[in-house]
Amino acid sequence: MLELRALCAGYHDRPVLRDVDLVFRPGKVLALLGPNGCGKSTLLRTAAGLLSSQGGTVLLDGVPLTSCPPRLIAQKAAYLPQSRTVPAITAERMVLHGRFPYLSYPRRYSAADRALARQALEWVDAGDLADRLLPELSGGQRQKVYLAMALAQDTETVLMDEPTTYLDVRHQLEVMALARRLAVQGKAVVLVLHDLCLALQTADELAVLAKGRLQQTGTPEEIFESGILDRVMDVELRRLMTDNGWRYYPDLPEKE
């Protein structure tokens, strides 16, 4: 389990995050929300060990992340960046790379790794894409492949930076449903999201960041009731009860 304790992080001498305490609980989907530049991605990158902290600690199963070898971190936490290079390899090969942290030199994938990669692709309902080249796939299909890769990585925590950006609404919903299924499997799923409505209706827990500080954490219900998102994002959130529970939508605040 990943825990952030009084975490400060940033780039060079520019601090972005200050004093953040947060726990990524197994079996829960946690969404990080906040305006652009508030430090959501920085938080995720620091938690994944890709950026060193400038103060405080990140604990991985109680051990400071700085004393964990990169391979061990990769076996415990998968990180899906917002954008990445798209090499001309097949979807199956991409998923197979999720097994990389478990290989030792000279790093050749075994038949068991291949079987796992196939299973992971089937699990995200992308078995038919196995032999297709990544650049040929649509954004939504690619995101599913990346999720399958995270699944093949077999980690306790999955960190995703804006996994729904640039996707059409159908694929956004599919990706969120997959995130939920990962949590049902017992994984801690942490998402940076821009879509407040999607976050409020899918996540178990929300963490609202602004100006580099963690403003509030809580269930969607609590966050909505508190009005913190209205203040931080400068919108007016409203909700409607539907057959499938609360549905949220933002509005511009009424001028007085």
Partner: protein, 341 residues
């Protein structure tokens, strides 16, 4: 630029069959390279020369002293430069990067020219000195690019600047010591005539070791192709690995330059062709690049010998004349393919 590795092919070819085909092509071209030249020889004569039965005959002399070093030189330099190009393009995630464009060849060339001018008899040291020059250039370019923003185009511009400076250095050395590169035919455009085994042998060992190390790191290279961020999140020490692979690429290019001169094009063209045919998966791509580079250079060298026999062209000229248009055709074909997609 994002999808520069996109393959124009729809179906994945059978990779092992393709590699076997390339291997066969290399063998046939090597045999042709031994047979054809100013004096045509039969395969029996070549076999006789190798088995030592007719060591004193003219045919044996031609095979062992002229054709064999030249053929080995073609195979080695072609394979080394192509693999070096594949590694550099992959590691730097840059389609324009290749040993001659980012200054690796000219860095190696400059040190070769300087050491030939200062120590004309140090033949066995030349490959090592050449590698130093190549590595110096690649790390200088990397340093400049990272200092100035590390964009793909900055890297190429830095490479062109460094390449220009080093090339001027080579010209300066040759101006002051005109006989410095006398042992080389056409150093500045690349040539393989007058090669001897003493010059090829040390480079052979370096290329062999570097090539095996690169192949053994193909799994890591694959993960590096996913982008630095993803590679690191998979537990790969991306920075160290980039430097290691670039050093190996410099060793390959440096060793090739040490006996073949500043051959361009192979390192740029072959990786692109093979990537388009096979996709970006590193192990088959590296093997195909090695075989493809060896074939291309051997073929061009054969043409250089035969086209205007008894006169010979420097192989660098043939390479540019034959390879350039083929490469352009490939680019046009891909564009056509895309617009219909």
């Amino acid at each position: 630029m994002k999808n520069w590795r996109i393959s124009s092919i729809r179906k994945q070819p059978n990779k092992s069959r393709f590699l076997c085909g390339l291997g066969l092509l290399v063998v046939l071209l090597a045999l042709a390279s031994l047979c054809f030249g100013a004096v045509p020889l039969t395969p029996e004569e070549i076999l006789g020369a190798f088995l030592g039965g007719t060591r004193d005959s003219a045919a044996s002399q031609i095979v062992l002293l002229a054709r064999l070093p030249r053929t080995c030189g073609c195979l080695l330099a072609g394979a080394a430069l192509a693999v070096s190009g594949t590694v550099i393009q992959g590691v730097l995630d840059n389609p324009l990067a290749s040993p001659n464009i980012i200054g690796v060849n000219s860095g190696a060339g400059l040190l070769v020219a300087v050491s030939c001018a200062l120590f004309p008899n140090a033949v066995t040291l030349i490959p090592f000195i050449s590698i130093l020059g190549a590595a110096g250039a690649v790390f200088l370019v990397l340093f400049l690019a990272e200092r100035t923003g590390a964009s793909r185009i900055t890297l190429v511009l830095a490479g062109i600047a460094v390449s220009g400076i080093f090339s001027a250095g080579i010209d300066a050395v040759v101006t002051f010591v005109p006989e410095a590169l006398n042992g080389y035919s056409d150093f500045r455009i690349g040539g393989l005539a007058n090669l001897s085994m003493t010059r090829v042998a040390p480079a052979f060992w370096i290329i062999l070791v570097a090539m095996l190390l690169v192949l053994s790191l193909s799994g890591e290279l694959d993960v590096l192709l996913l982008g630095t961020e993803t590679a690191r999140s998979l537990g790969l020490p991306a920075k160290q690995l980039r430097l290691t692979l670039l050093a190996l690429a410099a060793a390959l290019a440096g060793a090739a330059v040490s006996f073949a001169g500043l051959l361009g094009f192979v390192g740029l063209m072959v990786p692109h062709i093979m990537r388009r045919l096979l996709g970006a998966e590193s192990l088959p791509l590296l093997l195909a690049s090695a075989l493809g580079g060896a074939s291309l250079l051997t073929l061009c060298d054969l043409l250089a010998r035969l086209l205007f026999a008894p006169y010979e062209l420097p192989v660098g000229i043939v390479l540019a004349l034959a390879g350039g248009p083929f490469f352009i055709w490939l680019l046009l074909r891909q564009r056509g393919g895309r617009s219909h997609a």
